[in-house]
């Protein structure tokens, strides 16, 4: 029996890693996990800190905020607050995953299964990633961005580039089209077309701001059409194309930040699914290894210990509670899909008539491929999982003296809990809805933003700071009106002091 074991002892070797990778790949194939080729990199713990600090970009441009990130990670690591064991994996082709040299063989196998086959297959098959990112060229694009920004620093000074990046970063979450499918990023083209674009964009911008009267016929109508004709949600895109005072290189930097934001956009919307998927597969694959007699009890003990701490969900009243753990929820939901297919109860048949009793693998793949967190929860959060987590929904209304429990894990409550939880993962309710409403093209060139409040939620204290950054990019006055329904509830103006309207 023991001669079938893939490894002995807890130390890893390159040979063992290869063997495990081969076996895990074999099982992954059995479950039809479609992956990019893997590039597994063995690194030291300080390199892992670098990787954490660069927030998912294996090659990043230089900026102080990554230094801050690094110091933060370093402190956390030194205090022993974080294990650094899991998983940094880059959505690229080949898919890059890191293994830390301090880890035991068990942990390496766990990370391989989790990152190299779990996340990897998610990157390759989920619709958001398919339509928003281009894994083939992202690394090249990072290189392009790094070089371009380094060149700018040489030419225009590090301080000026840093200021510009600060401003772009402040608006980073407003640098994506939420509904339109963007062009994929292609680094080679990017470089080739960059110069051309510089000239072209500049010409267009100049055109917009042309002060010489165009012709007689547009003269008589005082009614100048509003610009932009439709409100714009992609602030950075709008800046890149229309800001009157930016130099061509500055437009390119705005574009870089925008493109990188776009690359991370799918990840921000698929946290629960992505982690749930990866966790489900490391759990399933390593259990299969055990069932085949390829790993021993000691291996499994270490694995289960680590796995169960990853999927732990502290209760809301526990001192360790910090929101819903995406690993826990995602893993539970993925497992639940399998359960509903394999051992449906009467309740499942009522709730999931198409799925109950079906092929679990097919259903699971379908779920992974066609949903994001919000719709995934909306579609698949079952009464069983709601009960297991003892989920309940509270209404926190600042006009009420009490916090009201509106639904719990019972027949009357399931739908409401599911609805509310799904909404929580909806980016457009999580982040304020702020759009560019109007440019005063013929007047003082000021830019006006509109914030449409959702459920009367006010803007945070950063708002004015962010507007200062926007002002730096735009170059002329910036207004922001926060609407509650049709009413202006609050208004901001930069550079001048806030003017308060009666509300």
């Amino acid at each position: 029996m023991t001669d079938k074991l893939l490894s002995v002892g807890s130390d890893w070797t390159f040979e063992f890693i290869e063997i495990y990778d081969r076996e895990i790949a074999r099982i992954a194939k059995k479950y039809q996990l479609d992956t990019y080729p893997n590039q597994i990199e063995i690194i030291r713990s300080d390199q892992m800190m670098d990787a954490y600090a660069s927030v998912g970009m294996p090659i990043g441009y230089n900026h102080w905020s990554y230094g801050k990130q690094f110091l933060n990670v370093e402190r956390g690591y030194k205090r022993g607050q974080m294990g650094l064991a899991y998983e940094i994996v880059i959505n690229s082709n080949p898919c890059i995953a890191y293994l830390m040299e301090e880890n035991s063989m068990t942990m390496q196998a766990l990370v391989i299964a989790h990152a190299c086959y779990g996340h990897n297959s998610f990157f390759k098959s989920n619709y958001l990633f398919k339509s928003w990112t281009d894994a083939d060229s992202i690394i090249d694009y990072f290189v392009f961005a790094r070089n371009f920004i380094a060149q700018c620093e040489e030419r225009y000074g590090a301080a000026e580039v840093e200021e510009l990046l600060d401003s772009c970063h402040a608006l980073m979450h407003y640098g994506t089209d939420r509904y339109k499918r963007p062009y994929p990023i292609s680094a080679a083209e990017e470089l080739a077309r960059q110069q051309e674009r510089e000239e072209y964009v500049q010409r267009q911008v100049n055109d917009l701001w042309r002060t010489i009267p165009r012709s007689n016929r547009s003269r008589e109508s005082d009614e100048v059409p509003r610009f932009p004709a439709e409100p714009q949600e992609n602030l950075l895109y709008f800046i890149e194309k229309n800001a009157p005072l930016l130099e061509p290189w500055q437009r390119e930097v705005v574009r870089i930040v925008r493109k990188i934001a776009q690359y991370f956009y799918p990840q921000r919307q698929t946290q629960v699914m992505n982690e749930g998927w990866a966790t489900f597969w490391h759990y399933t694959i390593l259990n299969d290894l055990f069932d085949e007699g390829l790993v021993d009890d000691g291996f499994m003990m270490e694995f289960i210990h680590s796995h169960s701490s990853v999927v732990a969900q502290p209760d809301f009243d526990s001192p360790w509670f910090s929101g819903i753990n995406p690993y826990a929820l995602g893993f539970a939901m993925m497992r639940d899909i399998r359960r509903i297919c394999e051992h449906p109860t009467e309740e499942d048949r009522r709730w999931f008539p198409q799925m109950a009793g079906g092929d679990w693998l097919e259903n699971l793949h379908f779920a992974m491929e066609n949903f994001k967190d919000e719709s995934f929860i909306q579609q698949y959060l079952s009464p069983q999982v709601i009960r297991d987590f003892h989920l309940f929904c509270i209404i926190d209304d600042d006009t009420s003296d009490t916090i009201d429990v509106s639904a719990i894990h019972d027949d009357e409550g399931y739908r409401e809990v599911r609805e509310a939880l799904a909404l929580h993962y909806n980016l457009s309710t999580r982040e304020p809805d702020i759009q560019i409403y109007e440019i005063d093209v013929r007047g003082d060139r000021s830019l006006t933003l509109r914030h449409q409040q959702s459920s009367r939620k006010p803007l945070n204290d950063d708002t004015e700071e962010v507007l200062k950054h926007l002002y730096r990019l735009w170059g002329f006055d910036v207004y922001l009106f926060s609407y509650d329904g049709e009413e202006v509830e609050r208004s901001f103006r930069v550079p001048k002091k806030r003017i308060s309207l009666d509300s």
């Binding site: 597994i40 990199e41 660069s54």
Partner: protein, 429 residues
């Protein structure tokens, strides 16, 4: 499809160094203040370690649009125990309108920890020197820990190839080859002898002997010429180069007119001298002498932070210094340095006495004596007498009127110049 496994462990360290540097540059003001606080808090002898810097979270946040608390929100929480739909829960006391932010702290703007990080010893010194406007060469010398001599410290089994001790390695290989091969060689000689002596018939025993001979040859050939555990390496150890002792006398006027800022400037003055001595002598001692109308030897804490009032008689401190030297620090064993800080007040008839004491008794024993006068008023008698000293004893005596930190270094300029000149001489030999 094969995975591609790359060993990146030998890649360069400090990929984040640039970003870290930029961060530190950006928050220079905060760090400088923290360093200044640390300098006044720490002992003179305790400047050579890093410091933990704490910056308020608000100063360091990167702003972004987000929701503040308030409005209407539905939240889903795990772990319900006793709640039923329709329950109304009282808000926690003092909180109205808005539950705590979900998940990450950061949008609530309250009760957040400061951002804390460490700077290294070098960075600490760098920041401290910045106020003092030290020339770069001097900065580098004070901050570097390179004033070590490499000395041999025996032989080890482990080391890098360039440290290999060839003679010891070969000797050990030779011994091992003898130990492993001697018995076999002896037997081979026996067999060869037998084969020669008994050239007679008996084929079977001859074949057996020849087989054994072959086996022996093979085994002997299998003994490696050099094996891993033969390798011997030189071990070197760094030792601080200077081997002599220095004592530094800190003299300070503590009469009422010396305020805390003045003392703070004085402290940096002493620190600089101490760091200099640290670099140049294996062992450095400090003697603190405070004086008003009488002088007393005290501990550092008392030296800087306790206050006394009274007249000012500088010569009392010089006399005490002379006594202590005679008592504990014979000039032939110790390199003696003196550093005096004052606001320039002295009792009228005392300054000539100081002049005489220094010129005749003390300076001959001292390597260097430096005096700073921290005042914005005109100089008084003591200054005039000291100026005379500076003229006659240029090399070993330095003085300066000081208004700010940056004025401190020039007092030491000659001292440091002399040192770097002699160092350059040494290294060119």
């Amino acid at each position: 499809m094969m995975s591609y496994i790359v060993d990146r462990r030998l890649n360069s360290k400090d990929k984040s160094a640039v970003n870290r540097q930029r961060f530190i540059k950006r928050y220079k003001k905060h760090i400088k203040k923290a360093v200044a606080d640390a300098v006044s808090r720490r002992s003179i002898t305790d400047m050579e370690r890093g410091e933990s810097i704490s910056i308020q979270q608000g100063d360091i946040d990167e702003p972004s649009f987000g929701h503040a608390e308030g409005g209407y929100r539905a939240r889903v929480l795990p772990g319900n125990k006793e709640f039923k739909a329709g329950d109304r829960i009282q808000r926690p006391a003092g909180q109205r309108g808005g539950g705590s932010g979900q998940g990450q702290a950061g949008d609530s703007g309250e009760g957040m920890d400061d951002f804390v990080f460490q700077i290294t010893q070098n960075e600490f010194l760098e920041f401290m020197f910045e106020d003092l406007e030290l020339p770069n060469l001097v900065k580098r010398e004070l901050a570097s820990v390179e004033t070590f001599k490499i000395v041999k410290a025996g032989i080890s089994e482990e080391g890098t190839p360039n440290q290999m001790n060839v003679v010891r390695t070969m000797r050990s290989a030779y011994a091992r080859r003898i130990a492993l091969g001697a018995k076999k060689k002896r037997r081979r000689r026996e067999i060869l002898d037998l084969l020669e002596s008994t050239d007679s018939a008996d084929d079977s025993s001859r074949v057996m002997l020849q087989d054994e001979l072959k086996l022996l040859e093979k085994k002997l050939a299998g003994i490696p010429f050099i094996d891993d555990f033969d390798l011997k390496f030189n071990v070197n150890r760094k030792e601080p180069q200077p081997s002599s002792k220095a004592v530094m006398f800190c003299l300070m006027d503590v009469s009422g007119s010396m305020d805390q800022r003045t003392k703070d400037i004085a402290k940096r003055f002493y620190i600089l001298l101490y760091l200099f001595l640290q670099r140049n002598y294996q062992h450095t001692e400090i003697v603190f002498i405070r004086h008003h109308s009488t002088a007393r030897e005290v501990e550092e804490e008392e030296f800087f932070y306790s206050r006394e009032t009274g007249g000012t008689v500088v010569s009392s401190a010089l006399k005490l210094m002379q006594e202590i030297i005679a008592d504990r620090f014979p000039a032939e064993e110790w390199n003696i340095y003196g550093a005096q800080a004052s606001d320039g007040d002295n009792w009228t008839n005392d300054s000539p006495i100081c002049y005489k004491l220094l010129a005749d008794d003390l300076l001959p024993l001292l390597q260097y004596y430096c005096y700073i006068e921290i005042t914005d008023r005109g100089h008084q008698e003591l200054w005039q007498y000291y100026e005379k000293l500076a003229e006659s004893q240029g090399d070993a005596f330095a003085m300066r009127g000081i208004e700010d930190y940056s004025d401190i270094y020039p007092v030491f300029r000659d001292l440091f110049c002399r040192e770097s000149a002699s160092r350059a001489e040494q290294s060119s030999q």
